[in-house]
Amino acid sequence: MLRKLLIALAMVAGAAQPLLAAEGASDPKAEFKAFRSYFTNRFPKLALDDFVNGPYSMDEGLRKQWKAIDEFPPYDFAIDKGKAMFATPFKNGKTYGDCFPNKGIGVRQNYPQFDAKSGQVITLDVALNRCREANGEQPFDYTKDDMAALTAYMAFTSRGKPMDITIPDDPRALAAYTKGKEYFYTRRGQLNFSCASCHVQNPGNHIRTEVLAPALGIMNAMPIYRSAWGGMGTTSRRLRTCNSQVRGVPLPGESEEYRDVEYYLSYMANGLPISGPGTRP
C-alpha cells in the first residue's frame, strides 16, 4: 500500500515540478516573491488569507466539516488551560508575561526570531522554555500537552495578526534561513520525500483521502488540534510526525533543523494572518 502511495506521489510530483533552481546564496526577498507567486498562480481563486487554513482551503467537503467543528472547537479546553498556566505565577512570583513584550499578549506573529546573542533561531516554544528556566522552573517537553496549551493560548491572542518575521542583517541569520530552506527541500526517509514533495508540489492532492496542506501559511495555524491525536500538539510534534510518515527517524523537539525550517516557512508567510490554534484531521 505504501509502495502504491509512493508511486502515485512520484507521478504527481513529476507533473508539477517547480522551476529548476540556480545554485547560489539565499535571497530571502526574491525567494519570498517567487514562493508567494507559485502558490497564488497555482490557486488563483483562493484568497491569500485562506492559505493559512491548510487542507480546508483546498477541499470543499473538508471545509464544511471544519466549519462545523470550529463552531465549538475541541481545542477550547487547551486554550483555557494555556490561559490559566499563563496567568499562574512561577515560584518566584514572576509570570510568563514578564518575559515578553506586551506581557506576551498578541506577540506570537513575531516568532521565530533570530537571537543575536546565541546566534540561533528562537521559536515561541523555545522562548517559553527560556522564560521558565530564567525563573527557576523546569523546561517543558517540546512535544507534549503543556507546551501545546501555552502556545495555543498565545496564538489565540494573536489571531488575525499578520505574520511578521524579520531576518536581521547578520550572516548567521541568513545562514539559519538557508539551513531552514535546505531542510525543507531535502528528501529524506525511506519514502524519499521532502517537506516540499507534499506541501509545495502536491497541496490539495490526496494521500488516500488525506488532503495535503499548502506550505504557504502552514506555520500560521500552529499549534494544531489533530483529530488523529485527539488533542493539541506543538509544531515540533507535527514535524516529528511528518518525519515518521515518510519513514524517517524524527529529530528531538525544537532541534536546530526544526527551528530553522519554521523560520524559513514563517518568513515565507509574512503578512498572512495567524490562524492558530488550528484544527486538522
Binding site: 517547480p18 545554485e23 526574491a30 526517509g189 525511506q190 524519499n192 516540499a196 519513514r247 527517524v249
Partner: protein, 104 residues
C-alpha cells in the same frame, strides 16, 4: 530521480545478502553483520538521516540472534546495513540536489 531507486537497491541488496548467507550462519557471522550495520547506522545518524525501517530491521536481527536463529539474524542485520547505506546515499545525494527543488 535517481534517489527513488535507492529504496529498490536497498531491498535488492538485502535479498542478495540473504542469498550469500544461506549456508547456516553462526553467532560470529551475526556479530560481523551487526558490526557492519552498526557502523553504517552511526554514519547515517551523523548525517541526521536515519530511516525508521533501519532500526526495525536491527531490532529484528537482535531478536533472532537472541533466539539462536542466526540465519535470520544475519539476514536482518544485512537488511539494516543496506537500509542505512540507502539513507547515507540519499543524504549525500540530496546535499547536491536539494537546490534544484527550490521554488524560484
Amino acid at each position: 530521480m535517481r534517489t527513488r531507486t535507492l529504496i529498490r537497491l536497498a531491498v535488492l541488496a538485502s535479498v542478495a545478502g540473504f542469498a550469500t548467507a544461506a549456508v547456516a550462519a553462526s553467532a560470529d557471522d551475526y556479530k560481523a553483520a551487526a558490526a557492519k550495520a552498526d557502523a553504517a547506522i552511526k554514519q547515517a545518524h551523523a548525517l541526521k538521516n536515519e530511516w525508521t525501517t533501519t532500526g526495525a530491521a536491527m531490532k529484528a536481527a537482535k531478536a533472532a540472534a537472541d533466539a539462536g536463529k542466526f540465519d535470520e539474524a544475519v539476514k536482518h542485520a544485512q537488511e539494516a546495513e543496506a537500509l542505512a547505506n540507502g539513507s547515507i546515499a540519499q543524504a549525500k545525494e540530496q546535499e547536491k540536489l536539494w537546490p534544484d527543488a527550490v521554488v524560484r
